[in-house]
């Protein structure tokens, strides 16, 4: 059994310990906001935060999570960074199909939590692991910059 925390709630996971966090979230906890895209750490659709760091849920076995704190898109706190990111995503009309966007938002929140004014190169580097087949990349870049400006009080 592995004990860890998901969105602040304690979880005692008794199914196969090699179950990837992605499928523990989706199939066992009913949290389907974390998306399956590749299962191979290639696309970022399953981006969550583990102890505050961005992580790919498809490639972390539950057995590695003993005592750790997992945050999913459903459990993001309503803090300034999260509000700025979600607000910028709506303002810039980023969404197309929307399937990769929870992962994109998780990656952007992780970036802006650590770095309030990322350069263009830092944005590209931080968001490069999150694929989008619809091609929302230009608006993702704009939205991250908009959120950063908001956080810097520049609006």
């Amino acid at each position: 059994m592995t004990k860890f925390y998901v969105n602040g709630e304690p979880v005692e996971f008794r199914a196969a310990p090699d179950t990837p966090l992605l499928w523990a979230l989706r199939d066992h906890l009913g949290l389907t906001g974390t998306k399956f895209g590749c299962g191979l750490s290639q696309c970022g659709a399953c981006t969550v935060h583990v102890n505050g760091e961005p992580a790919l849920a498809c490639s972390i076995p539950v057995s590695d999570l003993q005592g750790k704190r997992v945050t999913t898109i459903e459990g993001l706190p309503a803090n300034a960074v999260v509000k700025a990111v979600k607000g910028a995503w709506v303002d810039k009309d980023v969404v197309q199909c929307g399937y990769c966007q929870p992962g994109q938002v998780m990656a952007a929140v992780a970036l802006l939590t650590k770095n309030k004014s990322p350069s263009d190169a830092e944005i590209d580097a931080a968001m490069d692991g999150n694929l989008c087949r619809c091609g929302t990349y230009p608006r993702i870049r704009e939205a991250v910059k908009t959120a950063a400006a908001k956080l810097a009080g520049k609006r």
């Binding site: 199914a15 196969a16 090699d18 179950t19 990837p20 499928w23 989706r26 199939d27 066992h28 009913g30 389907t32 906001g33 974390t34 998306k35 399956f36 895209g37 590749c38 299962g39 191979l40 290639q42 696309c43 659709a45 898109i73 459903e74 979600k86 995503w89 709506v90 303002d91 009309d93 980023v94 969404v95 197309q96 199909c97 929307g98 399937y99 990769c100 966007q101 929870p102 938002v105 590209d124 580097a125 968001m127 490069d128 999150n130 694929l131 989008c132 087949r133 619809c134 091609g135 929302t136 990349y137 230009p138 608006r139 993702i140 870049r141």
Partner: protein, 718 residues
Amino acid sequence: MKTTANPSRRTFLKATAALSGGLVIAFWLPGRRGLARAQGAPKAPIPPNAFLRIAKDGTVTVMVKNLEFGQGVTTALPMLVAEELECDWSRVRAELAPAAPEYAHTAFGMQMTGGSMSVGDSWTQLRTVGAQARTMLVAAAAAQWKVKPEACRAEKGFVIGPGGKKASFGSLAEAAAKLPAPEKVALKDPKQFKLIGKPTRRLDSVERIEAKTVFGLDVKRPGLHTALVAHPPVVGARVAKFDAQKVRGIAGVTHVVQTSLGVAVVAKNFWAAKKGRDALEIEWEAGPGATLSSEGLRAEYAALARQPGPMAKKAADPNAIKAAAKTVVAEYEVPFLAHAPMEPLNCTVEYRGDSAEVWCGSQFQTVDQAAAAKAMGLTPDKVTLHTMPAGGGFGRRANPASDYVVEACEIAKSVKVPVKTVWTREDDVRGGYYRPMYVHRVEAGLDAKGAIVGWNHAIVGQSIIAGTAFEPFLVKEGIDHTSVEGVSDTPYDIPNLAVTLHSPKSPVTTLWWRSVGHSHTAFVMETMIDELAAAAGEDPLAFRRKLLAKHPRVVATLDLAARKAGWGTALPQGRARGIAVHESFGSVCAQVAEVSLEKGEVKVHRVVAAFDCGLVVNPMTVEAQVQGAIAFGLSAALHSAITIKDGKVQQSNFHDYRVLRLSEMPKVEVHIVSSGADKPTGVGEPATPPIAPAVANALFALTGKRARSLPLGKTSWA
């Protein structure tokens, strides 16, 4: 001035208060439903659902008949209704319609999403629905106030009458629903539009961002099991026998069943099903696909390209080219391509013996519903097909063979528990239904002044359409139109153009892929035109303009892109521009790409796109679709290829089937041509075709090397 829509002759209208105590309008165009009938769709009377519901609280719900998979129909189609309804836009929401005959395409008689047709198809239909509902709401208010309807008007969700009278749509909906629907309604002149043409944010952003949207993969049902299917490792192979001994011991696995394509492992969750499938021992009967390779196909296709064959277009004078002062001969190749939508394929089925429910992100509801019914031994009316929002599709979810739907139905019928099939990314990349591989051979002749005198164009590649229900409509005298579109109907004034098509068969399954035939024909046409411009010693833009004199719309679009890109102005050392223009799906897109080489790798810095898509409904969506179509096209232009060796697909996931990443995305500037058109043309696809040739032409300008095969990344540019 108003234009009048007269739907009365072919239109059956029905208003009923059956749903949610509000106004429900059903609108139906009977008599053009040939394909739906042919495939066994029920002829039952129209069911009590519709395009529009107005609830007592004033919420306006528009039923969207198309699949939402990124193209923005759940915003654009409600805009059409709202424009005429005069409702409060902030109270509008969209719902995806299930499979039902009244949601058929108005001309094709089947419910479908494709061909960049969604907005155009609903253009008159949904504005009419909005105008009818508005007329009924006004009539209901007028009756209540005992005044003439002409004395009342609708505005922002209210009917306003004489003497300051005011009633909300919600309060009037029930009474309005009891009135007869007007047969004739006047539709606004485009000059009167308040919403159409205005940049409008998507209605579904917040639910998508907060992950509240239920995609097909997210469907939850009581007792739902997950199934993974082992598909043939060799193209076209079949199961000879299998041993499930090692599978049965895996906790959570409940069933192992053979399907028409492979062997399914059903389990209580994904991970158990995955482990179970990994433990399966299957002996495959390889069949003729065992020796198949892309290399072999290339040689076969190149040989065929030199043979006579069915002609899509004949030259007025086939001998004219023989008198050419200069002849350019080039052979082109493009690979098989997977669609690789972010949401892997999936389908949920509950089979109940005499009926069934299916949940999937279908681009082909009518076809999938009929196929599901057939697979379960039911009639289509016994199968409810819920259209789920899809995480991309690009054509993969519009399969005439309904492969992934049929497979899920076979499993559900066999195991008799609710089942969701999930394709892994490897299943998707290796699962067939690719954009076909093509070889083109072009022989073009110029006279001494650099004018084209003849053009022999041979295209070789599998037919997407042959063997499907679409064959009678799209294949004529051996010519699959989707294989030659963009060549045989080119707007360029090319004297003595001859187009030959060979459509060899292979065990590889093929399918349309965003922009269909244009995905390869634009690359060939636009790089060849560029090559001829160079051979004639002319500027690529000027050379094109001369050949397009009879097509002012194409010239205007080309000119706009060139002007905005600074065509002809100096660039920093190591950078070059390339230009391309292509007409598809009723629209024209021109692009100028700016490239450089960084450590031998192609880097695209900037793309300036000009786009004429007729009347623009939502400029914000149009810009997004052009950006997205360029990203999609750039993936294939630079990186993506499915190759086959010994019958096996050599790629498996995003590490070897590469698609564009954010750091590779160029700056994209989108300029919409204000054409004054009175109706919308295609938006989702037409910006994909020009990007590969624009980049290839820029690489020629930079290096002097001509790219004649895709992806460009496999050519050594250094």
